[in-house]
């Protein structure tokens, strides 16, 4: 069954890779713009796994993310379709398909309307995306919470000189993805997503609502919102999986959340603040991220820019938080060469004040020629305390190399 799914998906990817150039040639006549990328990735875990059935060594993946866009200028409407597929050699859960976006949009004089599956980003900070809530995290992709699943929505935006007001009706809930039993970068015991628990009797069909106001006051960019619906952040409870194995299953409660994000920009400085207040079953807490980014432009008379970043994360739940960053400090640097190949590097560490847990992350990217891109990521769980949420990841440090071909 697994093998079938994998080979079927592989066939589709190869077919699409073959098709892609022809589709592009046709784009002018058909008025559909086609772009996107295919990628090949290897992720190497250089320590043996914590549980014997987790895979060791390197895994390989193929990814494809095409984008189909068509706009009708006369009516200011457009349709965008962006499917995504990943085939993974080691973790059957990581082999997955998603529709990142598939929406119809109309742009009015002082409003926008978007209907369909879409992605929305809120927030200003870099090492954690606290206020970003509309989309579920596609955690099987990466643990940095920057990969998101397409969220079904009706989004109406009112734009005026008093600011921007966004209304969201979210009729369907997407479950978070997690690494499978053989996968790495997962909790111990592993999470079985077959039997999730919902507080709402409507389960995935609970209609969620959100409203956000944003405005620019000179150097200050402000966003404030209210959300009511199913928490994107599950709690977990023990369950019995296949073969009487102890597993965890996600519990999705209803919640209300208020969020605030601020950025003050002056000179080379970006001062950032994000905060949330959440209340719901078994959870009533606040969390915040505060930090800065300072960039030195044209360092040493070259074209190189160097940014210095630091952010502090707080969560009032302390060590019982479902997020590992409850009293943690991030320090990092971003270096952009501003060369023809857009070479960029970002690296940093996160340190937990309560228990000394320390992890490092590095990302490097560079375009090769006109249409290829090399992306290298490394994550090192350097010192992990047994009380920290990251404890089950302590042997999951990895080096990842990805090559993408854009079209």
């Amino acid at each position: 069954m697994r093998v079938d799914r994998y080979s079927a998906a592989l066939t589709i990817i190869l077919m699409l890779m073959g098709c892609a150039p022809r589709v592009i040639l046709g784009q002018r006549e058909e008025n559909w713009e086609v772009s996107g990328y295919v990628g090949a990735e290897t992720r190497w875990f250089y320590y043996g796994p914590s549980e014997s059935f987790q895979h060791g060594g390197a895994g390989f993946s193929l990814t494809l993310e095409p984008e189909f866009y068509r706009g009708w200028e006369a009516s200011d409407t457009s349709i965008l379709f962006e499917p995504y597929i990943r085939l993974d050699s080691e973790d059957t859960e990581r082999t997955h398909f998603d529709i990142r976006e598939l929406y119809w949009q109309k742009i009015g004089g002082s409003w926008d309307l978007k209907v369909g599956l879409a992605k929305v980003f809120w927030g200003v900070t870099e090492s954690r995306h606290l206020v970003d809530i509309i989309n579920q995290t596609d955690q099987i992709e990466n643990i940095d919470t920057e990969d998101k699943l397409g969220q079904p929505m009706v989004n109406f935006t009112l734009i005026n000189n008093w600011g921007t007001l966004d209304f969201f009706f979210l009729p369907y809930f997407r479950e978070r993805t997690f690494a499978g039993r053989e996968g790495r970068l997962r909790s111990i015991p592993h999470i079985n997503t077959d039997r999730p628990v919902y507080e709402s009797g409507a389960e995935r069909w609970h209609p969620d609502l959100a409203v956000r106001y944003s405005r620019i006051f000179g150097n200050l960019d402000l966003g404030i919102y209210y959300f009511y619906g199913t928490s994107r952040d599950p709690l977990f409870e023990p369950d019995i999986g296949n073969g009487d194995e102890i597993v965890l299953r996600p519990v999705y409660n209803l919640m209300q959340q208020g969020g605030l994000d601020l950025q003050y920009t002056f000179g080379g400085w970006l001062l950032k603040f994000e905060s949330i207040l959440r209340s719901g079953r078994g959870q009533h807490f606040q969390a915040l991220t505060v930090g800065f980014e300072y960039t030195l432009y044209g360092l040493f008379g070259t074209t190189l820019d160097m940014g210095i970043l630091s952010e502090y994360h707080y969560d009032s739940r302390g060590e019982t938080a479902t997020d590992p960053f409850n009293n943690d400090i991030f320090a990092g640097t971003r270096i952009t060469l501003n060369d023809e190949q857009d070479t960029a590097f970002i690296g940093g560490m996160i340190y937990d004040h309560d228990n000394g847990t320390t992890s490092y992350r590095f990302e490097f990217e560079r375009r090769l020629g006109d249409s290829y891109k090399l992306i290298i990521e490394a994550q090192q769980f350097a010192r992990i305390d047994s009380k920290d949420l990251l404890f089950s990841l302590r042997r999951d440090s990895f080096l990842q190399v990805e090559l993408r071909k854009y079209f």
Binding site: E33, S35, Y37, Y69, G71, S78, Q105, I107, G109, S110, D112, K119, V120, F121, G123, V124, E146, T157, I159, T164, S214, I216, N219, D221, Q263, T265, F266, G267, G268, W269, L270, T295, Y297, G298, G301, T303, D305, N338, D339, E340, Q341, D342, R367, D370, S371, K373, R404, Y406, F407
Partner: protein, 285 residues
């Protein structure tokens, strides 16, 4: 003198343009009346500084009142070994009465940056406001304006070379008159007000008949000649404004160069501030 000229400029010599066929008539009237005025302002200026400013104001005034434009641009970046790479982008610009222009740049090529969009609100005085849209994350990020002297997408054009050339961003000195590339020109020297500019001075050739920038020499922070900008093949668009088909920027210190080709200039499409807000950045194509 300087104050008087500034007041003239700020008040605006033009009443608001209603649109329709009047646009062209008014544009011609404006050009005619302004050439008379500027010719006398430039001639009357008593010091080289006043005369330099008068030329800059005349050039600015000649290119005022266009409302909005959009254009496709392709950059060819060449290194000293003759290797080249391309950048393709769409630019839209909206004139502001009381401040610098608003501008959006949307990248289309190389494909890995397709959809990346850059929004700038140029300020006549002080730092510009800039936002960057990162399509992979759907994220709009306010960015620092201190990058002015940095290279734009790895090219020989710095951000400050391509931003809206507001009169207030420099102080001026008139040097001489000179014929260049077939154009009788004023040669003026200008000094960036922004201490973070990559230049100590620029020498720029502005043609006497239409006040177009024909050529500019850029001098770096050490006072050495760094780059030369040249504009080629000017076209007069139906709205009454001149635009070059081609820019060339040569870096004398590195041997690199960038050609910038302009295509599909369209004026007066009726853009509003709504086309230049943070939401429009996400939808720009």
């Amino acid at each position: 003198m300087k104050k008087m000229l500034l007041q003239l400029k700020l008040k605006g010599l033009l009443p608001e343009i209603a649109g329709g066929i009047h646009v062209i008539l008014v544009a011609f009237a404006m050009v005619a009346s302004y050439s008379n005025l500027t010719a006398s302002s430039i001639a009357d200026a008593s010091t080289p500084e006043d005369k330099g400013l008068a030329v800059a104001l005349a050039a600015d005034q000649r290119d005022t009142g266009w409302g909005d434009w959009s254009a496709d641009a392709e950059m060819i970046l060449r290194n000293r070994h003759g290797e080249s790479s391309s950048r393709q982008m769409l630019l839209r610009s909206l004139e502001q009465e009381k401040d610098g222009d608003k501008r959006i740049i949307v990248f289309n090529y190389p494909r890995d940056v397709k959809g990346t969009a850059f929004l700038v609100y140029t300020r006549r005085v002080g730092n510009d406001d800039q936002w960057l849209y990162l399509p992979a994350l759907k994220r709009v990020k306010r960015i620092s304006a201190n990058n002015q002297s940095g290279p734009f997408v790895g090219s020989e054009f710095a951000y400050e070379d391509l931003s809206s050339q507001e009169v207030e961003k420099y102080t001026y000195k008139y040097l001489r008159e000179e014929r260049i590339d077939g154009h009788d020109s004023y040669v003026i020297e200008r000094y960036p007000v922004d201490p973070k500019s990559g230049y100590t001075r620029q020498v720029t050739w502005i043609d006497k008949s239409e006040f177009r920038t024909i050529k500019t020499d850029y001098y770096d922070r050490k006072g050495e000649l760094l780059k030369t900008f040249t504009a080629y093949e000017f076209q007069l668009y139906p709205s009454g404004y001149w635009r070059a088909d081609k820019f060339v920027m040569v870096n004398h210190q590195t041997g690199k160069s960038t050609e910038l080709f302009w295509n599909n200039y369209v004026f007066a499409q009726g853009f509003s501030d709504r086309n230049f807000d943070q939401n429009s950045l996400k939808n720009a194509r």
